[in-house]
Subunit: 272 residues, 2 copies
DNA sequence: CGCGGCATTGAGGCATATCAATGGTCGTGG
DNA sequence: CCACGACCATTGATATGCCTCAATGCCGCG
């Protein structure tokens, strides 16, 4: 077992917020933030606090610069289901554009710096600015792709497959923003959180992680996760990452010069 | 057991396609269909056929007029997960706007009349028409809400709760389009399809339906489902239908004259 | 009339949940 | 610097919800 200090790991490694935002697959959003800086507030939250409460009237869309959050719902039998994690550089709260109340609570896992954009502002801008609206549309569609994959996870995969798939997805999403190092990353989640995301009990998450470790597929050192055999993990969990990346809009496909990695630049242009 | 002829049930009751479409919560789309009728093709599919194949390059967005379809994915262990059902008056294929390949196959349950709108056309229109783009955005966000609820279903509810929740959701979604009668509706699904949607085996779906029937919560007569105790069903399955309806956009909330039921008219105006 | 698809029911097995106990690590305060 | 408490990971033992296999019967259709 790894025994070094972990204090530096709870607060994620420092990175330029700018890098984190622009690497988001909804990168168009940072143009938005610049365009209306006066109405957009930067806010900080400590770890373990609720940013949005289920049932309340939502009034903002958020860009998460550097922390981890999760959206969840409590059932009346006491169970909790985590619907999605919000990683550094990703946004959340799109539902506030369409619905009059929040379905999920959103809580922080780590300390977070968030940009808070009033819905009213977004609403005003989308009336005129079709390109911004398109960027938001792509973000929403990207979210459906991720949720669909989570549904497949919970519905039809074994615990082994679920945990494997989960780690692979985190890795790919973090890699986009440069939050990985080689084949490893920092995961500030408890096994209970993982269980609530995958529909497993915390002790079974523990046993499953142990199996993955015994099978030399992953390595754990404190909060550091290393994927030792990426290909084998993909195989056992039916992971096929295209639902995460490859965010090239149809009209961009026509321009062969635009490589997949340019999605960021494209979205930037789109929201100008 | 109900023994009447079922031939009329497999082909769902005839209704004006126009009614069906405009009752969709993405009602803005029918304006689109009118606006560019020449490029939009109306197509028919027999029951049990694939409309979209997973992995292929998607080139169209579809409006489903009168049938039932489902989106699914096959895992390499042979399992199938159904991600969503497409009911009469709903649209599908939004992912083609953002991704270069389809993640799911889409198949028909019943005969279907579909309007097929080329992505290129949508793409051209969304460049200029912010209101259409907003309608699509709202459709996409609505889809995330439904998928999130399905995830909660598969992850944290018992079989009993899942089936109950599933029937309630179908009822509410069908009711929007006028496809219900009192507390009952026609459900052209096999128990195997239900199982693949909920992450259950077909035999367990059968036993669960029997329990619900024994408990006088539902009644089944052939393909007719009747909800005998709506309130009790909601309680046991944590059902709270606001994630389905209530699709009032933020800027519409400001106008108190716009009741929830006017969402249709609003979207119509929006895409004009 | 026979065949195929689907619902139904029983029996037994397995994956995962639940309950319970232990120990490690960290933060806090004396 | 040490003692304490909170939180989390870990492991064992037991319980159970759901799955799998298997057989039967119903119904519609060719």
């Amino acid at each position: 077992m790894w025994t070094g200090s972990e204090s530096a790991l709870v607060d994620l490694p420092a990175k330029s917020a700018c890098t984190a935002i622009s690497s988001s697959f909804v990168a168009g959003l940072d143009s938005l933030l610049y365009a209306c800086g006066s109405e957009t507030k930067s806010v900080r939250f400590r770890k373990g606090t609720d940013v949005v409460i289920a049932g309340s009237r939502p009034d903002s869309l958020y860009v998460n610069h550097d922390g981890w959050l999760y959206g969840y719902k409590i059932l009346h039998n006491g169970g909790r289901q985590i619907v999605n994690f919000v990683l550094p550089g990703e946004l959340f709260g799109l539902q506030s554009l369409t619905f009059t109340s929040s379905f999920y609570s959103i809580a922080t896992v780590t300390p977070c710096t968030l940009s808070k954009v009033p819905v009213a502002l977004i609403d005003r801008m989308t009336e005129r600015n079709a390109k911004l609206t398109r960027a938001l549309l792509h973000a929403a569609v990207g979210e459906t792709a991720i949720l669909g994959e989570h549904l497949i996870n919970a519905g039809r995969r074994s615990a082994y497959g679920r945990v494997g798939h989960f780690l692979l997805e985190l890795f790919v999403r973090l890699k986009r923003g440069g939050w990985t190092e080689d084949m490893s990353f920092v995961m500030p989640l408890t096994q209970e959180l993982i269980g609530d995301a995958l529909g497993l009990s915390p002790v079974h998450v523990n046993r499953t992680l142990r199996s993955l470790r015994d099978d030399k597929l992953i390595a754990l050192h404190g909060r550091h996760v290393t994927l030792c055999d990426f290909a084998a993990l993909c195989r056992l969990s039916d992971f096929e990452g295209s639902y995460l990346g490859d965010q090239t809009a149809p009209h961009d496909r026509a321009a062969p010069a635009a490589a997949a990695g340019d999605a960021q630049a494209i979205a930037l242009r789109a929201a100008s």
